[in-house]
Each structure stands twice: as C-alpha cells, then as structure tokens.
Amino acid sequence: MRTAYELAGKYLNLSLSDKYIRETEGSNKDVVSVGSSIVIHDIYNYADKMSADPTGYQFEHPDEKWMNLIGFYPDDVSVGIGTTGYFVGYKTFQRAIETTSKAMLLSLLDGDSKRTTTVGVGSTRAKLDIFFNTLKYKSSRDTTIKPWSNWNDSVGICTPTSISRNDNVAIVTTTPAHGMTTQYDDWGVVMNLNTGIATSFNISTTRHPNGVPVKIIDANTFSYRNSGLNTSITGLSGTASIQVGWGGTSNNLHLYVY
C-alpha cells in the first residue's frame, strides 16, 4: 500500500492545525514538539460527527472530479493507484474508513446504535442488510431498516428566544431549558427559524440530515459552528430540533508519531 494511504489508515490527518479542533480539544499541545527528538501530536475523530451518510470522493485532487463523473474508483485502492495513472486522495480513503466504521457500529450494536456498547442479537442477514444499506446512495436506501429508519430522529424540540453569531460561532439561548445534559457530548441541532436574517442560522437537513454538533454552555445556552456575519437577534420565531450523533471530544483519539 502506498505511503499516503498507510498514514491515512493510521488516522493521521494533522487535524490540530484546525483552530476549532484545537480549541474544542482544550489542549495547549501543538502539532509538533521539538526536543531531543520530534514528536507529532494529532487527533482523530469522525469528520462528520452527526451523520450516518456514506462519503464519496473528497475532491482533494483534480483527478477525483473526473473519476467521480465517470463513476470510476480503483478496484483495489492499495495497489490500483500508480498503475492506473489516477490519484485518489488520502482524505477520500480516510473518509471511506470512517464510513465503514460507522456501518459496522450500526450493524453490530443494539437499538439505534447510539450511546450503547451492547452487540445486538439480530441475525447475520439482518446485520448485512444494515451494513449495505448504510453504504447506498440516498435513492436506493431501505428506509424501513437501520440506519435510515431511526438515525435522524429528533429526541426533542426546544424554543430559541435569542441567537447571535460571532467569529462564525452561533450562540443560542432557549426558554425553557434546552434539555441537553453534559453527561453526553453527542448532541446536535437542526435550527429552523422562520423570519428574516434569523433564517441564516438554519441548518439544511439536505446537507446535515441529523443536524450539526453543538457545545453546551449551560442549561439554557448552546453553541454551534455557523458561518456568516456577526449579528445578534432577539424575539425569534421557530424551533430547534435536538439530535444525537456519534460523540464529540470524548471520541478524540490522541495520536503520537515519533
């Protein structure tokens, strides 16, 4: 297997160069320490911490757009690249590993596979159906079985009363309390505000069917990443649907390379 894939397969992605990840990780460690030897620090987590949708090409390399267009992917990425003259980026490879990991967790674990560690007792056939169902295009899915039968289900609705955006982070205040406990860090939200500029805070369920991750500030306040102009709005009309995903910083796998 080529070197870039070996590194990606060991979850290396140099994600600590991402300001948000470094801040949410709460660590003062940098990507690299230089002492008597070089130690590289890194963190790995699912790139999409809410969704069960399978990933395709990540378009890291221009070849990938053409390969996606013609529906071509090497038969065996570990040996096919270099012999075919086409390049599949390591991000595509790493995301495919993540999708496969999610498909396995969904197939093997009980219930909706969230928060549980219990291996389910379903038949092998039923688990295979879930596994392949997870990897299918949207139009071909069986929505009566996992994950599409329940993964994107809301676990509650809360009412935002004010919202602000600063440095591409949205802060939402709800009344009454939003109901998310700090016992878990897998919470997410689908914002659905109805009027004016407030709609710029909305989350598209086409792009994010299970919402986006949130960070709980207190019983009535939470934040999420949201690009846009700095602004502050009160007197909101609309709702926020509370979702549950894979998990946040608790799933950060800390890596050393030396």
């Binding site: 080529r2 070197t3 870039a4 590194l7 397969g9 290396l12 140099l14 660590s27 940098d30 690299v32 070089i38 590289i40 395709g56 378009f59 890291e60 390399h61 221009p62 070849d63 757009k65 053409w66 390969m67 996606n68 267009l69 013609i70 529906g71 071509f72 992917y73 038969d75 065996d76 690249i81 270099g82 012999t83 075919t84 003259g85 086409y86 390049f87 980026g89 390591y90 490879f93 590993i97 993540e98 496969t100 990991s101 396995m104 093997l108 560690t117 092998t124 688990k127 596994f131 990897l135 299918k136 295009y137 139009s139 071909s140 998990g247 799933n251 800390h254 890596l255 050393y256 390379v257």
Partner: protein, 412 residues
C-alpha cells in the same frame, strides 16, 4: 480473502466482545459481497463508489477496526491509551517504519510552521509521480454537481421539447448544445478505460466506446475493438465463473437461434446479470453469452466455463430509445418488423415524462443519473418517434455481438 487485522491497544469486557463480533461480522460481509448484487434492482452501482469493490471494503474494514473499538472503549469507560497527550499516560503511540516516517517528515520539512505542515501533507504523496502531474480541468459544474450526489427531486413537469428530441432541441433551443459535452464524456471514459486495460479490465473502455457508438447514431452492429476485445473476453470469463452460482442462468435456444448465432453443436448459451461490477453492468446489464460448452454442468450448478465465445445484447434503454424485437434476435441486425421506440420510462400510453422524470422513474440519482444522462438527453423529453435522419442528434440503439478468440484466461 483473509484479513490482516491490526493490533487493538484497548481492553475491557465490552471492547473485547465488540472486537470479536467485529471480526466475525467483517468476514460475513466479505463472504456475502459476491452474492449481494445480482440484478438491476440490486446492482452494485447503488452502493457509493468507494465501496463498490470487495477488495476496497476489505481494506476499509481492516483500517476501521481500531477506531471503532476506541469508540466502544470510550462509551464503556474502559482502559487503554489514546485519550490525552500526556506521555506518562499511555497515549496511542505510532512508531512508523522508516519509509512512512521519512515521507511524513519530508512533508513536514518544508517550513517549520503549522500551516505549511498542513499544506505539505495535503498536497499529496511526494513519492507519487501522478500527484504532481498537470491537473486536468474540472468537469462542467452542472454535471459535476449531479455526480457529486446532488439530488433534485423536483423534475420539470412540462415537456420542453416534445416537438422533437435531441440535444439541440432541448428546451426549444434555449439550453446549450450538450453533444460536445457528451463527446468529451465518452473520451474521458475511454481514456480511463485505457488505464484499466493494463490491469485486465476492458469493460470501461468498451462501455465508453458503445456509448460513443450510440450517440454517433449509425445503429450498426457493435463487434468490439481489436486491442480491447481479448481483455474484455478474459474479464467476462472471470466474471461469469465468479458469479456462476448466482447470476448465470443456462438458456435453451431454438435451433433457429443456434443457427443464427453460428453455434456449434456443443456450444451452450447463458443469460448473465452483470450487476456485480459497475462497468459490465453499465455496458451490458443483462446479456447473453455463448460458451464452447466444455463446462460440466450438474443440474443448475454450472461448471467452470473455459471459453466465452460471444456476448450478445441490444444496446438500448428504458430512458432513451429502445429496440422492440418482433422477429429479430438480440445482437443481430434488426428485421423489417423490428422497431425503435422511446423507452417506457419516457413514454407510455398514459404518460410522457421529461428526461429528468424518466431517470427519476428508474430511481437514478447522483452517479447513476449522470452515467445515463447522455443517452437520455440525446433522446429528449417524452415520446419522440425515431427518425433515421436525426439519428446523429438523438442517438440510435444497436445490436451488440462481440466474438472472442481463445486467449490466455479465456479458453487457453
């Protein structure tokens, strides 16, 4: 195909049970892969691209084990490294072999700041010459967006070019002529197909060539291309033997059919569903093959097929033009009472559909939509009576009859 599992540096009752279940189920996935995709409704093309081959899924399953176990460990609160950067607290250490460490350090070695590390790393693999080549221009955005999985459930309700199909007639001439785009598409398919020839796959090149043949509008019988056909024959031979238990059905041709196809006394005929591999599915769907009959069949169990002599099909579509056979046989020139009509997804007695509507009728989105778009757009919306003089604009279906000689891997 056996797994090469990495070590899992986490332990505990829950993690251990999960790892055992993971490995056992991963084997079930691989074992099932060859029988999971067997007809048009269960085609491998409904799986997203990176997961369309068993070989890649095996690699992903291996690489996903450690992180999946880590998620379980964190949920269960069990022991093991990977939860912080404190040296004394057992982080997950990766000691890279010299090659990988050298490559990583080379990437990191451009400039000693974080942003440059990232750029160096993300620019690709320094030991990959392909990574540094001149980047091709991007596909047209409208196609690229759809290929990327964009799914639009809202097809136009109104037929825009009922007065006549073809790319130049689309939307009464208001939209660009896309024939050049689809010619480019054909060229890209064949270019990529050339690369795959080297690893024993002729199906991608042939699919591109047949698409070009359709859009060219000659309608003549497609007999393959000399330098690709031997590879295609070996590929088809390999496919039918791999999937003979599931996707290959022996047929009992009439004496007239045997004569028409030039079958020898011992030759056998089979129907094959090619939906287990994307480009065979795209080129042939379900097709007929003729073998030399040396295989030893026992009841419905088909023996090892040594030599595939012919593949026979009609290259036509439910969402473009289709060949309606009355007295003619697939793969042979059309008889006088055979006809070419708009496919059932576009045109029924009760309803006519747009190109988008016809493809949606088939449940095609994303990549599946794109690979079908050239022929559907060439046809245009709704019922469009086939006109020979417009075949270069609208495309024309044709018989496929490719005959294979014995070559290494197919009969020798």
């Amino acid at each position: 195909m056996t797994f090469n599992w990495p070590d899992v540096p986490f332990s505990g009752t829950k993690v251990d049970a999960f790892v055992v279940a993971y490995k056992a189920f991963a084997q079930e996935v691989l074992d099932a892969y060859d029988t999971e995709f067997y007809d048009a409704a269960h085609s491998v093309e409904y799986i997203r691209l990176p997961y369309m081959t068993k070989e890649n899924v095996k690699i992903y399953l291996e690489k996903a084990l450690v992180y999946s176990a880590f998620v379980i460990k964190q949920r269960a609160g069990e022991s093991g490294p990977g939860t912080d950067f404190e040296l004394g607290n057992s982080p997950l250490d990766l000691e890279l072999p010299p090659g990988e460490a050298g490559s990583l350090l080379k990437k990191l070695g451009c400039t000693w700041d974080n942003d440059s590390f990232d750029i160096c790393f993300e620019n690709g693999d320094n030991d990959n010459p392909d990574d540094k080549k001149l980047a091709p221009s991007s596909p047209p955005p409208e196609v690229d967006d759809v290929a990327d999985g964009a799914e639009d459930d809202d097809c136009p309700k109104t037929l825009s070019n009922y007065r006549g199909g073809g790319p130049k007639a689309t939307n009464n001439g208001q939209t660009p002529d896309k024939s050049l785009l689809w010619q480019t598409y054909v060229a890209v398919l064949k270019s990529a197909g050339l690369g795959l020839l080297a690893i024993g796959r002729g199906s991608l090149w042939t699919t591109g060539d047949m698409l070009g043949h359709y859009l060219g509008g000659s309608g003549s019988t497609y007999t393959g291309t000399g330098f690709v056909t031997p590879t295609l024959g070996v590929e088809i031979n390999s496919y039918v033997n791999k999937y003979s238990a599931s996707y290959v059905t022996e047929l009992n041709p009439s004496s007239a059919a045997r004569s028409a196809y030039g079958m020898d006394a011992n030759d056998k005929m089979y129907s094959v569903d090619f939906y287990g591999y994307l480009w065979l599915a795209s080129g042939f769907g379900t097709a007929t093959i003729i073998t030399d009959g040396s295989e030893n069949n026992v009841g419905n169990i088909i023996g090892n097929i040594s030599y595939v002599k012919q593949i026979i099909d009609d290259y036509d579509f439910l969402y473009a033009y289709t060949i309606v056979r009355n007295s003619g046989l697939p793969g042979l020139p059309l008889e006088s009472d055979d006809s070419i009509e708009s496919g059932l997804y576009l045109c029924t007695e009760q309803e006519q559909r747009t190109v988008c509507g016809a493809l949606s009728q088939g449940g095609f989105t994303g990549l599946q939509y794109v690979v079908r778009l050239p022929v559907a757009e060439a046809h245009g919306d709704g019922c469009v009576p086939f006109q020979e003089e417009r075949a270069q604009d609208t495309g024309k279906p044709f018989p496929v009859r490719i005959q294979f000689s014995r070559t290494s891997g197919n009969g020798l």
